[in-house]
Symmetry: C2
Subunit: 580 residues, 2 copies
C-alpha cells in the first residue's frame, strides 16, 4: 500500500472525552472516529487491524473444526421470549419494533438463534459434535459506554456455539476451543492469561476468561507464578491463612475506640496489627410469598479479617444466600445489633446468622465491634465469648502472597482485560428451546452446549493498553495495520531515494510483507511521529546521504535508536525479523 | 475442505413460502435459513459464496483506489435529520430508541455518516479525490419482503462514496467506479449489462444500473444489439415512430363502439390496426397554499398510441408535472370530459392540458374516445379536428423493435435484476450537511459526491436466477461455494479409492483450488444430487472400477454427461478448465 492511496489522518491531541490511553491513541492515530456514545466508525487504519484479528480467529476456528455462518443483527423477539431473555435482560438489550409493530432485538449474542438452527438442523447423534461460529456486529446498550472500543455499544464479536451428545463430549468441545483460543491469542502476539472463572448457576468448572494483561485492566487476575493456577477474583480460592485456631491468651475486654469506625483506625489506636481485627458486613435475605410480598427477613453477619475484602460473588454461594441478598438497612442493623455501623460485631447480636471467612474462623484474641458506638471488644475468642459461626466459608478476595490453593506456591495478582471467554452452557438453552437430537436408540435427548466469545474490536483496545509508550501504539507484528513502513526522505528531490524506496517496496510486497510506502512527501519528523503514533512495528528510512554510503536505517518500534543496514541486506534483515 | 468437517444440509422440497427459483434453490441447498420475514441466517454453504463475492469486490475497489472503512449499523438520528431523510423516508427506515430515549436508525445506506466523516477529515483540495467504501449489514423494512435474498429486509451491501473538488473530477471518479464495476461483474462470471438510468432531481447523465440478465428479473432493460446503447425503461428514449405527420384522408366520424372500452377491442371491432388508435390517460396536479390546502387543480390528458404504455417517470419530467401528479378522480374526469373512462379523448375536453407522445403527435386519421359512453371518433386529425397538443414529449415505454435513439439499430428488451448502481450525487448531501473543503485559493467549496452500491447478498439470488437448471444451481467458478468437488464411491470399502481421492484432494489444495472432498459416505445418487443442487461447477468421481482401468470421471455442472480422464491427467485437466 502506498500512503497516497490510503487514508492517514493523525491528531496531535486526543479529544477530551477519551479517558484511557487506548482510546486516546486510537483517536489520535485515526483508527476510529466517534459517531455517537459508544458507537465508532472504524477508519481505514483501524479496520486493517480488525481484519487481521478476524483472519487469525477465522483460521484457528476453522482449524479447530468450527464452521462459519452468519446470523442476523436484527432478530425476532419470539426466540428471545422462548428463553425468557427478552424479559429478563434489562435495557442493555436494544429493542426495535418493525413497521408492523412486531418486536425485534439488536443482537448482543446469538444463543437463541443458533439453538433454533440446531434444533432444526441437528437431528441425529451422527451430526454431533458441531460447532458454529460467526463474526458479527453486536449491540449492547451500555448505561455508560466508555473507554473507546473497550466498552462500546456497537462492537464486533466472534461467538461460537458447540452442540454435543453428552457432557463428556461437551467437555471435549470445550477443551478443543480452549486450545484454539490459546493458539489465537498466541498468534496475536499479546501477553495473556486464561483464568478459571465462575460458572454461576450452570455449575461445573468449565469457564475460562482469556485476559490480556495490562496494568490498566478492569479485572484482577489471580495466578501462581510457580504453577499453572490462574483464576479471576470471583473464583480464586482463599485458603485459611491460619492453619488452626490459636490458644486464648487474652480476656474479653470492652475497649473505648471513640470515633474509630474502621479496622485500620481501630488497629492504629490499639497498636495492634490490622490482621488482628475482624470486619463486620451485614446482609439481608427476604422470603417472599407468591405475590412477591416479604413474609420473613433474615439478617446475616459476614466476617472477614480487617485486612481482607468481602467478595460478593463468593458470598452468593453460601447456602441461604444463593437466592440473592441485599445489604441490610440502617433500621434492620439497629434492630439486630442495637448499634450503628462502624461498631458492629457478632457478640450479642440477635437473630443473626454468622458467616465467618475461613481465616476468621481460626483467629483467636481478635478485635470486633462491641455493638455500641465508640467501643470495640478486644481479646475475642470463638466458643468462649461467642458461639461458633453458623457457617465457615471462603467469602473474601484473595490477596497477593496468599498460598496458592494448589499448594504449589503463593498467589500473585495482576490486572487484565477480558477479551475472550469459553463457557460450558450445559442444557440451559437447549432445554428452554427443546433442542433435541435422536440418540443411538432413537430417543430424543437435549443437546449439551458451550459458547465461546472473542471481543474482536475490544482486542484492539486491550492490545494498545498492553503495548504503548509516550510516542504511541506498539502493535505486535501479527495485528499491526502495516508490518513495515518505508520512509523515504526527500524522494521528491532525489531520484535515487525514490528508486530505492520503490525497489524495497516492490521486493517486500513480492515476499508477501504488508508494507506501506509513505509517499506523502511529509517532513521526516512529521512522518516518523505519525508512524510511531500509529505503531507500525518496523520502519526503514532511506535518505540521500545514507544511500551514498550504501546504507539505510532500520528501527523497530521498541528500539531506542535506528540501526544502519547495508542497502543490499535490508530485505534479509527484515526477513529475519519477520521470520519469513 | 472435507464435507465431514463442514456442514452440508440439503432439502428435497423447498418451503412453501419460497416463490422464486433462486429462493427455492438456496433454501434447498442449505445456503440460507429463514429467521423471520426478509431476515435470513447465512448458513456455511451460502456464506462461502458471500465471502467470494465480497473478496472480488474488495480487490477491485482497492485496485481502483477506494479505501475501506466500516460505518456502524446503528446510527444517531441527528445526522439523518440534518439531511431531512429522517422525516422524508417512510417506514422502510427502521427507527430505534436507546435506553435514554434517543433516536437512532438502522442504516439502509450511509450517505449521512460518510459525509459527516468527510466534512471533518477532508479539509483541503489536496486530500481530494477520496473514495471510501464499506461492506456492511443494511436494513430496509420492506412492506412485503419476498424472493429470498432478492428483496430481504436485512442484507449486505457494499456502498462507496466519492468526494471531489469539482464536477469534472467527480466525473472522473464516476468513470473510475464504472470501470471497476465492469471488472467486478466480469470477475463474477455473470452476464450483465450496465444501463443508463434516471438521475431524478440530481440531473445530469451519470447514473448507471448494473443489471444481471435473467428472464425472471423485475426490471426491463432496453438495449441495442448493434451498438452500445443500453438504458432502463425509465430512461430509454422513445423516438417518434412516424417521421412526420401524414396527410388527412378521412373525415371525422363519431362511430358506435358499444362496450368496447380498450384500444384493443375498439381496433378489433373497427378492423383497424391497434397502431391507429390512441389511448387517453387523465392525470391531475394540485396547487397548494402555504397551509397545504388545494387552491387549484389542473387536469392533464396524456395520449399514447394504442399499442404503447405510459411511462410515469417520463411523464413526471413534463413541465407542469414535475412537481408531482396523481391520477384524476372519477368526478374530475366526468367534469372535464362529460364521460366515463374507456371512451375519453381530447376532442371537446374542457380546461384540460393535452400532452401527446412524440408518435401520437405525428399520427393522422386516428381513433380516440368521443367523450361519450359507447362511442369513439375515427378519422381524427390534429389541427383540423382538435388543437395541436399543448406539449409533445416522450412519455411512453419503448418497445422491442423501436429505432435505437443512437440511430445505430433497433431496440431489444431483456429482463434484468439490478445488483449495482453508480450514481452522481452532486452536492445534494454536501450542501445539506455543509461538507466543504478549502480550494487552492483558501475558499470553502462544497464537495462533489458520487455513491456506488452493490447488493452483495442480492448477487447470490441474481446469479442463481441466471444460472440454474432442473437439478439445481450452476455457480460460475469465481463465486461457487467450492470450485471442485471430489466424490469417491465406496471409499469405506476400498482403500484404493480412498487413497486416490485423498491424493487428488491434496494435489488440488496444494494448487490453491477451493476443493471439497465428500467423505460423508453417502450413496453415489444422493451425493451427486447434493452437489448438483448446491451447484459446484466441477466434479470428479472416483470409483473402484474406473481406478482399475486408471480412470476417473470428470463432469462440469453444465455437461450432459461425464468424461473419462486418466488418473494421471485429471489435475492437468482441471488446471486447464480453471485456467491455473
Amino acid at each position: 500500500m502506498k500512503a497516497s492511496q490510503f487514508f492517514v489522518s493523525t491528531l496531535k491531541e486526543a479529544p477530551a472525552d477519551a479517558e484511557v490511553v487506548s482510546h486516546k491513541l486510537m483517536m489520535r492515530a485515526g483508527m476510529i472516529k466517534r459517531l455517537g456514545a459508544g458507537i465508532y466508525n472504524y477508519m481505514p487504519m483501524g479496520l486493517r487491524v480488525i481484519r487481521k484479528v478476524e483472519k487469525i480467529i477465522r483460521e484457528e476456528m476453522d482449524a479447530a473444526g468450527a464452521v462459519e455462518c452468519l446470523m442476523p443483527v436484527i432478530q425476532p423477539a419470539e426466540l428471545w421470549q422462548e428463553t425468557g431473555r427478552f424479559d429478563k435482560m434489562g435495557p442493555e438489550l436494544l429493542r426495535v419494533k418493525d413497521r408492523h409493530g412486531r418486536d425485534f432485538i439488536v443482537q448482543p449474542t446469538s444463543e437463541e438463534v443458533i439453538t433454533d438452527i440446531a434444533r432444526q438442523e441437528l437431528r441425529s447423534y451422527r451430526q454431533l459434535p458441531k460447532n458454529f461460529y460467526h463474526i458479527q456486529t453486536k449491540f449492547r446498550d451500555e448505561r455508560r459506554p466508555r473507554f473507546g472500543l473497550m466498552r462500546g455499544r456497537e462492537f464486533t464479536m466472534k461467538d461460537a456455539y458447540s452442540f454435543d451428545r453428552d457432557v463428556d463430549a461437551a467437555g471435549r468441545s470445550y477443551e478443543n476451543m480452549y486450545a484454539a483460543y490459546c493458539k489465537i491469542f498466541d498468534r496475536f502476539g499479546l501477553q495473556y492469561r486464561a483464568v478459571a472463572a465462575d460458572t454461576g448457576a450452570i455449575g461445573g468448572d468449565r469457564s475460562h476468561e482469556f485476559q490480556v494483561i495490562a496494568e490498566t485492566g478492569e479485572d484482577a487476575i489471580v495466578y501462581c507464578p510457580t504453577s499453572d493456577y490462574a483464576a479471576n477474583m470471583e473464583l480464586a480460592e482463599g485458603v485459611a491463612l491460619i492453619a488452626s485456631r490459636g490458644a486464648e491468651t487474652q480476656a474479653l475486654t470492652k475497649t473505648p475506640t471513640p470515633g474509630k469506625s474502621t479496622c485500620e483506625d481501630v488497629a492504629a489506636l490499639l497498636g495492634l496489627p490490622l490482621a488482628r481485627t475482624v470486619k463486620s458486613l451485614v446482609l439481608a435475605t427476604d422470603e417472599l410469598d407468591k405475590d412477591g410480598n416479604i413474609v420473613k427477613t433474615q439478617i446475616w453477619l459476614l466476617l472477614v479479617r480487617g485486612d481482607h475484602d468481602l467478595n460478593e460473588v463468593k458470598a452468593g454461594k453460601v447456602e441461604g444466600l444463593k437466592g440473592g441478598f441485599r445489604f441490610a438497612t440502617a433500621g434492620e442493623i439497629e434492630a439486630c445489633f442495637g448499634s450503628k455501623p462502624g461498631y458492629l460485631g457478632p457478640i450479642g447480636a440477635k437473630d443473626v446468622k454468622v458467616v465467618a471467612d475461613r481465616t476468621v474462623a481460626n483467629m483467636s484474641d481478635f478485635v470486633v465491634g462491641a455493638n455500641e458506638v465508640d467501643f470495640h471488644f478486644t481479646g475475642v475468642n470463638w466458643g468462649r465469648d461467642l458461639p461458633e459461626p453458623d457457617v465457615v466459608a471462603d467469602i473474601r478476595n484473595v490477596v497477593a502472597g496468599d498460598p496458592s490453593p494448589d499448594g504449589k506456591g503463593v498467589l500473585a495478582i495482576q490486572r487484565g482485560i477480558e477479551v475472550g471467554h469459553v463457557f460450558y452452557l450445559g442444557t440451559k438453552y437447549s432445554a428452554a428451546m427443546n433442542a433435541t437430537f435422536l440418540d443411538e436408540n432413537g430417543k430424543p435427548r437435549l443437546m449439551e452446549m458451550g459458547c465461546y466469545g472473542i471481543g474482536v474490536t475490544r482486542i484492539l483496545g486491550a492490545a494498545i493498553e498492553q503495548n504503548h509508550d509516550a510516542r504511541g501504539i506498539i502493535w505486535p507484528d501479527a495485528i499491526a495495520p502495516f508490518t513495515v513502513v518505508i520512509c523515504p526522505i526527500g524522494a521528491d528531490r532525489s531520484a535515487e531515494v525514490k528508486a530505492a524506496a520503490d525497489k524495497l517496496y516492490d521486493e517486500l510486497k513480492a515476499l508477501g510483507v504488508d508494507v506501506l510506502l509513505d509517499d506523502r512527501g511529509e517532513r521526516p519528523g512529521a512522518m516518523f511521529a505519525d508512524w510511531e503514533l500509529i505503531g507500525v512495528p518496523h520502519r526503514v528510512v532511506l535518505g540521500d546521504r545514507g544511500l551514498k554510503e550504501g546504507q539505510v536505517e532500520y528501527q523497530g518500534r521498541r528500539d531506542e535508536a535506528a540501526t544502519k543496514v547495508a542497502v543490499g541486506d535490508v530485505v534479509a534483515h527484515l526477513k529475519g525479523l519477520l521470520k519469513l
